[in-house]
């Protein structure tokens, strides 16, 4: 075990998309109990620096493991198929049309109810796409297919964040 171990090794989890969120959380807290800088507050600067490095690394792994999209992307990367989202934005036309329709719907939405409805639709779509992603990663081991699926998920997730930002704006 060292700072270079991959997230799954670090957390003592099997390298697969399917994960029990409670187990991820339990491992995270058990690791932070050992490594958190608070445990070394009474010790010297060297120990605190080291604790900080470990604690940061554990939080980094936790952020990736608990988020299904980031976990899927990470599995692709570990298998030698990086997502490279910035370099490859080619997506099927039908998918892009759907995205445009959503953006138009968000621009047109003028009530909290309309935005909430859109948020629900996005969530349902995400759930469906994640199930497909699980199939590609854990069953078919089709990494190029999974890379494509993760890219699509990132689009939808980004839109979901835009919807949430609008919900926030309405709150304020």
């Amino acid at each position: 075990m060292n700072l270079q171990s991959d997230d799954f090794d670090l957390f003592g989890l099997s390298r697969s998309y399917a994960q029990d969120r409670a187990a991820v959380d339990t491992a995270w807290k058990a690791l932070q109990r050992q490594a958190h800088p608070d445990k070394f507050a009474a010790e010297g600067a060297a120990a605190q620096r080291l604790a900080m490095q470990w604690s940061v690394r554990i939080n980094e792994a936790y952020q990736r493991l608990k988020d299904p999209i980031r976990r899927a992307a990470y599995l692709c990367e570990l298998a030698g198929f990086p997502i490279a989202a910035h370099h490859n934005t080619a997506m099927p036309a039908a998918f892009l049309v759907r995205q445009m329709e959503w953006h138009e719907a968000l621009d047109a939405a003028d009530s909290a109810d309309a935005i909430d409805a859109l948020a629900l639709e996005v969530r349902a779509q995400l759930t469906e796409m994640l199930a497909e992603c699980a199939q590609l990663l854990d069953v078919a081991h089709d990494y190029p297919g999974a890379v494509q699926a993760v890219r699509a998920l990132m689009f939808v997730d980004k839109f979901g964040q835009d919807v949430m930002a609008r919900q926030h704006a309405l709150d304020a």
Binding site: G12, K29, Q34, D38, A41, A46, Q167
Partner: protein
């Protein structure tokens, strides 16, 4: 001064020795200090038995000052030199301060942070806060007749980096060793959760004198995990006073123009507000230069005058629940913290929003200091079997300015700290050898709408074609919630790094200078202080090393152990002398000698955490 105990190698120095660590709630209207004594956390009283210290500092002349109740009593007589609610100025420029023109004292714009003009000269908010902190430090030292090992200072969860840094600077200026800055609602949850053996998801609604926080936490088996936090660092009881004062002026058609009148009116409004928490109706009577005010105010009038403020807090609650991804019904309990939650309309609004009665079985004034004391005790190592762990988050997103005045977010809000996140940038001109970075904090897309934290430049990039350089910018947020930014060109290895201080905080030189022209600590000889501090640090390091050796000596080869023992002996020998620099050098040498031992211990701890979990799940 604590005597350093010298003992033979292998023999534990002062085995039952407790290090005195305090928790300090540095509040807008009042401050408290608490400590764990005989296993019980309690607020420490002054010599008249009062635990509360009004956060008010009055400068009488260049040398003398009054702090606390004495200063508060003179507020209306000497408003220009009596600084109240200084917390609202921490880490702020003049343009950021709401109602600056209506404050009874004069603000001066200055690079970095606003200053207050007093009879003793221009004072930074950091200096004024340090007076309050030093008073509490002396109170704690008197209570224990001993030096203080360290302190946990609380800050509003919604404080940004500049406000946190200013608070830490003030503590340093007051001669306190800051063990940690922790968030006020988290401290309250700690005190409440440990007291009530609570498990589940809780909301802490903390409305203080000048700040509002809402934090959503999950409590389980001693872990206090913050799921999301939100609030308003410029909304509190002061604003209720001001709204009531405005209403009173309108009702009575009287003006309050002089600083004396303004201070007197605010004090009367505050008194009336507090009375209305107990009674349905309260008098507000006061003689101003422009005329006499003789009103009786009922609750309905007060509530109407302040409804917009209460509504603002509930907006923040709604947004924070959304960030946590939780519905109201999933909240197991709502804990009220802060003196301003005594107002009936606040309690009723919170109860109505959550559909449940809030928990009020904690003293809203003391709970934050108590929680800080519990954490301080654990951090000082007095509670080695302690099962408590705080996992807090960063309240506001951090990013850098990109082309067109837009913000590129690097660390999103509500990330668990400590955290480090990086983003790659490139050059946009051929042969570009420098890259300017502007670090900002906030949720808005435009740089102009966010708080500017720092600017720095990465220089010495080898000339390359536009877009060829790969500059990795890393944001590191430590367990205090403080930011450090580093930039590195990946090809050449050129680096630049800053602690985010210059634009809103104070530089180390400024702090050193202030310590030189010290105020409350003026009587203390600086050299003697440095020696005491070096010895306390040495003591701490020797104790920590000894306990590490006891636990994990088997990780060391005989030669390594001898090297460490020699470094301990050298440190103890130099600590017996009176050369602070020599003690520091010996401390550094011991830290170096134990570096690889510490790394091996950490690896063992991690492996143990994993094997423990595996056994549990088998």
């Amino acid at each position: 001064m604590a005597l350093l105990q010298i003992s033979e190698p292998g023999q534990s120095p002062n085995p039952h020795g407790r290090r005195i660590a305090v928790g300090i709630d540095l509040g807008t209207t009042h401050s408290l200090v608490a400590a764990v004594r005989n296993g019980v956390p309690e607020c420490l009283p002054d010599d008249q038995g009062r635990v509360i210290l009004p956060s008010v500092v009055r400068y009488l002349d260049a040398q003398r000052r009054q702090i606390g109740f004495d200063a508060l009593a003179q507020q209306s007589n000497d408003p220009g030199n009596t600084i109240a609610s200084v917390k609202r100025l921490m880490g702020r420029g003049l343009a950021d301060v709401a109602h600056a023109a209506r404050l009874p004292y004069a603000l001066v714009d200055a690079p970095g942070m606003v200053r207050v003009r007093t009879i003793a000269g221009e004072k930074t908010p950091v200096e004024v806060s340090a007076e309050i902190l030093a008073t509490l430090r002396f109170r704690a030292e008197d209570s224990f007749a001993d030096d203080i090992f360290g302190a946990v200072i609380t800050v509003p969860a919604y404080f940004d980096d500049a406000q946190r840094q200013a608070t830490k600077d003030a503590a340093q200026l007051a001669g306190l060793n800051v063990l940690r800055l922790i968030n006020e609602p988290t401290a309250a949850a700690l005190a409440y959760g440990l007291d009530n053996a609570a498990e589940g998801v809780y909301a802490v609604y903390d409305l203080g004198g000048g700040t509002f926080d809402i934090s959503i936490l999950r409590l389980s088996a001693g872990v206090f995990e913050v799921l999301a936090t939100g609030g308003d660092s410029a909304l509190g009881g002061d604003d209720y006073d001001r709204a009531l004062a405005d209403w009173v002026l309108q009702e009575s058609a009287v003006d309050a123009d002089s600083p004396q009148d303004r201070a007197a009116l605010m004090a009367a409004a505050r008194e009336c507000k507090e009375a209305l928490s107990e009674h349905e109706i309260a008098p507000l009577e006061l003689q101003l230069d422009a005329g006499r005010i003789d009103l009786s105010v009922n609750r309905a009038q007060f509530e109407a005058a302040t409804a917009v403020l209460t509504a603002r807090t509930l907006q923040a609650v709604r947004a924070t629940l959304r960030d946590a991804g939780l519905a109201k019904a999933e909240i197991q309990g709502v804990v009220l913290v802060g003196g301003s939650t005594r107002m009936p309309q606040v309690r009723q609004s919170v109860a109505a929003y959550f559909g449940r009665e809030p928990l009020v079985n904690v003293n809203p004034d003391e709970v934050v200091a108590i929680g800080a004391a519990l954490q301080a005790n654990q951090l000082a190592g007095n509670n080695p079997m302690g099962e408590m762990l705080l996992l807090d988050v960063i309240p506001l997103s951090l990013g850098v300015e990109t082309m067109g005045g837009l913000v590129e977010r690097i660390v999103p809000r509500n990330q668990t700290i400590p955290t480090a996140m990086a983003q790659d940038f490139t050059t946009y001109q051929d042969g570009q050898t420098a890259l300017a970075l502007h670090v900002v904090q906030g949720e808005r897309d435009l740089v102009a709408d966010c708080r500017s934290l720092a600017r720095f430049t990465l220089r010495g990039i080898p000339p390359m074609a536009a877009g060829a350089a790969r500059i990795r910018v890393t944001f590191t947020v430590d367990a205090d919630g403080l930011l450090n930014v580093a930039a590195r060109e990946q090809g050449s290895g050129v680096e630049a790094q800053i602690d985010v201080k210059p634009s809103y905080g104070l530089s180390d030189q400024q702090i050193a200078q202030m310590l030189q022209d010290s105020f409350s600590t003026a009587q203390t000889d600086m050299r003697a202080r440095a020696l005491v501090e070096a010895r306390v640090d040495a003591d701490r390091l020797v104790l920590a090393t000894r306990s590490a050796l006891t636990a994990d000596a088997d990780l060391l080869a005989a030669g390594e152990r001898a090297t460490i023992e020699a470094a301990i002996a050298a440190l103890q020998a130099s600590a017996a002398g009176d050369d602070a620099a020599a003690v520091e050098a010996a401390s550094k040498a011991l830290a170096q000698a134990t570096e690889s031992f510490a790394a091996q211990r950490m690896n063992r701890g991690i492996a143990r955490a994993l094997s423990g979990k595996n056994i549990a799940t088998l």
